[in-house]
Amino acid sequence: MSGGTATVENPVEKKLREEAKRLLADKKVDVIVGYEAGTLPLTATPCFITAPEEADKLVWNPCCTQNLAKFVHDLLSQHHEAQKRVKPEAKRKKTVGVVARGCTTRSLIIHLQEKQYGRDEVVILGVPCGGYVDNRKLAALAGGEEIREGAIDGSEVVVKTAKGNRKAPLGELLADCCLTCRFNEPVLADVETGKGTPVAAADKEYEPVGAFENLPAEERWAYFEREMAKCIRCTACRNVCPSCYCRICFADQSQPRWVDIGENASDTQLFQLMRMYHMVGRCVDCGSCTAVCPMGVDLRKFLKKLDKDARDLFGHRAGVSLEEPAPLGTYKETDKEEFIFNPGGGGH
């Protein structure tokens, strides 16, 4: 059951472990959320470390997929909730350390802007990021065979299957969101662990969405219907999303029940539409929802469109500054409103 990745020299990982150990030993944090090697080849999985000696299991490599800000919110909101039942003199502060790449720090900024916890409750261990491996692209490399062993050596990925070895450049296996990412460095960090290499194609960020926008409405709707038909409503997308933190999601409410639980296509569409509309100006394009979807639903296409709208209409980019107000959280007299009065005309 050994997993993990044989990497060449990894100075960021080394520094990360040292800093994590120091923070825990100095009692600067109660827990550190990071990644450890998974039990399957070429996987890493979220882990929670509370003792300095556990810091050596932290890894940082292109198999580290999910945005960990979600867990920071989980831990702190649970703590706040528990503290409500504690006498004032016994109240205790909890500090969470988190291993954070660019997109993760953007999610943390959104949390801070939305007053979910205080800046002093989170310690950000920033890591430089060159993108993460898309598990479907990896499966395609293995030709649908089980990956029995795998390694990333520098810029090459090698997988071993029952039918032989296959290899590909790392760049070809990165998630789509990573290919046009402009946030290879953390936006906000308390501890730095190294510098990354910028990905060149950030100017192409909205190209696929631009092409999609220009399709006739019927084709766009047909695409939406087809993608949503794959959804089994496991809600992994919602649950992994750092911006989806409602205490009770409308989809889980039973009195009234907004969304029925049977296999009705319109219920699934409604769930996804409602979730996505809550993402305007709040999606950092970390790709976690797409990465965890067991059915391969193309959620990113629609989220990227909303992201583009926030950019085009309000000049907003989610989670890049603690000061800039979020478009859904503010009102300006100059706000564009053609899309309300003339929804067909503006292309939005």
Binding site: T39, C47, A139, I261, E263, N264, P294
Partner: protein
């Protein structure tokens, strides 16, 4: 028991022909994955595959099934129909782990205290043609740790074993023997049986994962309040992929869906991973967080099912291990429990 030798090239055609006569569910390629689904008449199933991403349980215990229909009239509610009657069905290509899952589901849905008419009807009309794992398809397979075997026929009506140049078909039950004419082939001799014995021994030895599943029970019996449960669930996303893909998970929720005057009562898969699981009408939930839900998942499979039916509610297919987005690995979880 009748044993036949079937030519390799004729198998897919035999199944395709049956697909014109009854409902046949079989492994089929769907984009980049293999799914267990209903064949169109004369569609040829995959015969060379690892295992299907989804478990076959959907065709005995559907994700959504109508139990009854009703109409609202000025005189009150009037019954407008019951559940759809099951149809004669053939499951082709179930791996032995999945075939065994039907035995485990039978224990619950078809028992002394409770008879589930919806399941029993479909089960009675289903014939299972299983395909032995000559080489266990995944390194995550652990059927031998939970009472199964890669070449076992438990739960199957017919078992096919790839002998290299042809299939050995063992017609185990009377239901299976009804397929003799359709399968044809020639009677198998002692040599084929010998060959199968060799394959069986080799296949078992190739199972790469071992899980101390039986040793977990006495630990679980006394560790309900262990601190282990407080941290186990932390990274779980509560998505339910594990329970949806699991061949033996069977929790369900019943709900009424009404449009204008027409209502249906539907039974849906539930998942112990979901926040609504076991939520009571009052709003109270005895399992309020992922901690209690994960404990339930493990306890149900490795303790309660053993208490109730003397069987572990896991067939070791490894689907949950492979599909979990955060690598919650039941093999490791059980191994960790034994060390408590």
């Amino acid at each position: 028991m009748e044993k036949r030798l079937i030519k390799k090239e004729s198998l897919a055609g035999v199944i395709a022909e049956l697909a014109g006569k009854m409902r046949v569910c079989a492994p089929m390629q769907a984009e980049d994955q293999v799914l267990f689904r209903v064949l169109e008449p004369s569609e040829r199933p995959l015969v060379d595959f690892a295992n299907t991403k989804n478990a076959p349980k959907n065709f005995l215990f559907p994700r959504t099934e109508t139990l009854l229909k009703y109409t609202r009239t000025p005189k009150g509610m009037v019954a407008a129909g019951g559940a759809e009657e099951g149809m004669k069905t053939l499951f082709f290509g179930c791996r032995p782990c999945d075939a065994r899952s039907f035995k485990l589901l039978d224990m619950l849905f078809d028992q002394e205290k409770y008879q589930d008419p919806y399941y029993i009807d479909k089960r009675a009309k289903t014939t299972v043609v299983a395909m032995a794992c000559v080489h266990p398809p995944y390194t995550t397979c652990f059927c031998t740790s939970v009472g199964g075997n890669p070449t076992d026929s438990e739960g199957a009506d017919v078992l096919l074993t790839d002998l290299g140049d042809q299939y050995l078909a063992e017609f185990i039950t009377p239901k299976g023997e009804e397929l003799l004419a359709a399968f044809g082939g020639t009677p198998a001799g002692v040599e084929a049986e010998k060959a199968k014995e060799g394959i069986a021994a080799q296949a078992s030895s190739e199972i790469a994962s071992t899980v101390p599943a039986r040793e977990a029970k006495p630990v679980l019996d006394v560790r309900f309040e262990d601190p282990f449960w407080s941290t186990l669930h932390q990274k779980c996303l509560a998505c339910g992929t594990c329970t949806y893909l699991c061949p033996t998970c069977h929790c369900f929720d019943i709900s009424d869906e009404v449009k204008r005057n027409d209502g249906i009562r539907i039974r849906n898969w539930d998942s112990c991973m979901f926040p609504l699981f076991t939520k009571e009408t009052s709003g109270h939930n005895p399992r309020p967080s992922q901690k209690e839900r994960w404990r339930q998942r493990v306890m149900h499979k490795f303790r309660y099912y053993v208490d109730n039916f003397n069987a572990i509610a896991c067939v070791g297919c490894g689907r949950c291990v492979m599909a979990c987005p955060v690598n919650m690995d039941i093999r490791k979880i059980v191994a960790d429990i034994v060390k408590l």
